[in-house]
Amino acid sequence: MAPSRSAMSSPSPSSVSLATEAPFRGSVLPAVFLLSAAALANEIFLIRLLSFRFWPHFVPLIVSQAMLGFGAAGVALHLLRDRIDKAPRPAFAWLILLAAPSFDLAFRASRHVAFDPFLLLWDPAAWPAFGLFFLLLAVPFFLAGGAIAVPFAFRFGRPGPVYAACFAGSAAGAVIALAAFPLVPTDALLRFPLGLGLAAGAFLLKEPGAGPRWARRAVWGVSLLLLLLPPAELSPSPYKDLAIARRLPEGRVLATRFGPSGDYRAVYAPGIHSAPGLSFRFTGDVPPQAALFHDGEARGVVPSGGGKDPPAYLGYFPSAMAYRMVSRPAVLQFGLRGTEGILAAAGNGAASVTVVEPAAELVVLVRDDLAGFSGGWPASLKTEILAEGARNFLARERRRFDLIEVAEISSANFSSLGIHATGETFLLSREGIRSALSLLTERGLIAFSGWLKSPPRESVKILATIRKELERGGGLASDRVVMARGWGSFVVLARRASFTEEEYLRARRFCEEMGFSMVWPRPAGSASEGAEEKALRDAVENALTGFSGDRGSGLFDLSPVTDDSPYFHRFLKLRSLPEFRRLLGNQWVPFVEWGMVFLLLSLAVSLALAAVCLLFPLAFARLRETAGGAAFAAYFSSLGLAYMLVELTYLKIGILILGDPIRAATAAIGGFAFFSGLGSAFSARWESAQTMRRWICPAIAILAPAGFLFLSLSAEALLPKGGALRTVSFLASLAPAGFLMGVPFPAALSRLFRAAPSSIPFAWGINGFFSVAGASLASVGALWIGFRGTVAAGGALYLLAGALFPRVGKPGDP
């Protein structure tokens, strides 16, 4: 579990309650188990729900919210310990009874907060709304965290079984979450935490000594009614593609699929005419289309009846150039973009097409649900669609292909806002490109296409990446690349062998026919080119022939990315910030990467809230003993920060190993919760200063990076294996470190309990504050110093904590 989560299960009992409190009759364990499961499932479901409402990569925010809720619960319990000591059983019962409906009500309430991440930079009035949104979603974690902590803090009998119930519940929550995704529509996911909470509450209805039974039953009954009500409607941000499509006159949803990979919907409206990058030489008509959406973001279209007769317009895109260079190719496509990619392959004379799509839900939706609309697959084309991750396929596949297509590496849809700047793209890393190149036939081509930005970004970054990989074997990349552009889009073709003059000629002819222009090889006598065209050609020339490894002197970071920091869509260079600031209000909008902006803003807001909720209440706490002063503060802040750095970086590498963010989040959050909970249960054995300083903390500092290194170095070997083996390997790699990471917090609390009990709220507050910060800082670290650097930083902080441990709870600094 994360520090505050493991801290929820830490022994910090009140002196009064230790031996005098009688346990509930068998209700504590099931209630703790069920509520722990509910809290963890809630955390995972919120990741999906906010992906749908806003965009992906809300993981740091959700984890921050959970940390804030858990941390605030710890502070509150300790500040109110004298009162709760007099009646811990009612506190336990009511926290559980209130936690159950909060899973549903908090999300319902958050929908009424006028918050949209896009407004944060535009409108200062959006900041308080963001704060309120953040706080509302932290409430269930506050209540659940408080409820789970009561049996530990005010011991209801033996702590061991309660520990077991807590971490077994967390593991169950992870399993339940994964199982629930395909069972219910996305908007009904929170039924599960509510149901689990209700089940937990049911154990408290008849218990004596926990307040009036009628009141408990009334609250439980109201929660039950919530379960029977329709779930809160899940509306995407008005800026998202799905919201826009829904507003179209006569729009209707044709099919919906949901599962761990996401929420997929097909919408038809007469006003949908999608043909991004279409040449203006095409004078015909684009047929009616159904548009596909993944968590509310556009994911391609399905032309009506296209399977029977591939529409002509599909031959008028820059990406069609690849088909002029190879004859009857065996094609490999990454990502199922409706049926357009397959139809384009059929229309352009491909012999076969293999599509690799990680989302099985999308495959079923396109292949089965929309078969009537699409007309199926063209009979002339051998079509194969594989539901697996791109890197998994690349690692296991032995066939060779004449053409590998990676489309929309920059897109014209919602993602053009830069929302994926903080998203991992392992296919576009150097390792991913290397694997793809290895599946090409001798004269096979790899094609990348996407939207041009001005100034150019993705188009140049992919060239820099290709160059690195092509030149690994010697020779220059510049004669193995062709690039063309339409008026808003581009295509890059690359291969291991050089292009011939005849092939260059074919490329030029294609451009002339379509009204596109050659970018590389740079056309001679291009004096008439406009400023934007010249800027693109200059950037491309520099990427292919300039100093290799140049990170660029321009505004953007266009250097290749690796699996250690696979943020292909991050272009922000920190040293460019002053220049961006200078442009602010003038021409800054096209430069903004919203994912980055939101990450930094959410860090600022979450820290402000954490200060208010976790540190401000400490002003009302009396510190009666000295607890170690600066060493005390440094110890708990190091733990809070370090845990998050380690846990979230494992989560990120988990996306590569396990194939998608939700599975990775489930395995990482659930895995750390389980193993750290287990470690907390054993913490009493190792709480001596010597053991902590010499063994536990140094062991974490070694095991956390070691487990991570194992995963990262064995990735290529793991990727071809089955999902179960990869999950087991992932959990096994984090287990040793995760187990020991559960020890330092409760060990220090136990020490404080003996030496300076009044300082415990401060420990909670400081730890919680830095846990909140750590959730976002882990992403910042991954973006700029890489995964290994971030995990190493976490390990170093554990070493520091080990050195400080002997001074925690000792009189020293004021």
């Binding site: 800026y239 990058g277 053009s416 008026w487 909008v589």
Partner: protein, 237 residues
């Protein structure tokens, strides 16, 4: 004439604090804001066509903006107008109008009426403006606002702007005020030989290019990207 107008405008802008706006009228409480907008955001940003500057100074933008955002009408930013659509920031409206080199005799097609503001500005420098809006509510609202303000040469129709307005084609100029992933072939067909068209192409809100298209006397199409800009998307494209 053009020179005189330009001089007049420059003098008015320069002496803004001391001199009331002659065409705004004494009952126009936003005239000063509007002139300041023209001075700072439009002329100051490089728009120099005196007829466009005059139109921008004349058209009461705040009357095309929903009441709750009216206080920000003249700020350099787009504003929501309902149905998830926005009214473009003033500079973009001026830029798109200027780049089309509209003449008083021109027949203009606008795709994406939205608030009606762009149509109102274009109507000041062109002969007729035909504008198509896909959302009934916006079409009705803009039709009402334009009629109330006396724009007799603007014709509003509710429909899918992707298909243009065939009955009134061909057009000397086409303004597409909402971004799309491609230039609709029907619009290219409805553009007169020698006509001009401007359209934001790209993503829904950011990192788009404003594309300027010219149809030569022989019907040949040429294009160039003129400005990275932000627009509401041409729905579904």
């Amino acid at each position: 004439m053009t020179f005189l107008r330009l001089i007049t405008l420059v003098l008015m802008v320069l002496f803004l604090p001391a001199s009331p706006c002659p065409w705004a009228g004494p009952d126009d409480p936003r005239a000063a804001e509007r002139l300041a907008m023209v001075r700072d955001q439009i002329r100051g940003a490089g728009i120099s066509d005196s007829r466009v500057l005059e139109a921008m100074a004349e058209v009461p933008r705040h009357l095309f903006v929903p009441a709750e955002y009216r206080h920000r009408s003249y700020a350099p930013r787009p504003l929501p107008i309902g149905e998830g659509q926005t009214i473009s920031q003033p500079y973009i409206v001026a830029f798109m109008t200027e780049i089309l080199r509209l003449k008083p005799s021109d027949r203009v097609l606008e795709v994406g009426t939205g608030s009606g503001y762009q149509a109102a500005v274009a109507s000041k420098v062109a002969g007729e403006v035909y504008t198509v809006e896909i959302f009934e509510s916006l079409a009705e609202r803009s039709r009402g606002a334009l009629a109330e303000l006396g724009y007799r040469n603007v014709f509003v129709r509710q429909g899918d702007g992707y298909y243009g307005w065939e009955e009134n084609a061909p057009f000397d100029a086409i303004i597409v005020t909402c971004a799309g992933g491609h230039v609709p072939p029907p619009l290219l067909r409805q553009l007169k030989n020698g006509g001009r068209m401007v359209m934001p192409v790209g993503g829904p809100f950011l990192t788009q290019n404003l594309v300027f298209i010219e149809k030569g006397p022989d019907g040949a199409i040429s294009q160039r990207n003129v400005l990275p800009v932000a627009f509401v998307r041409l729905l579904g494209h």
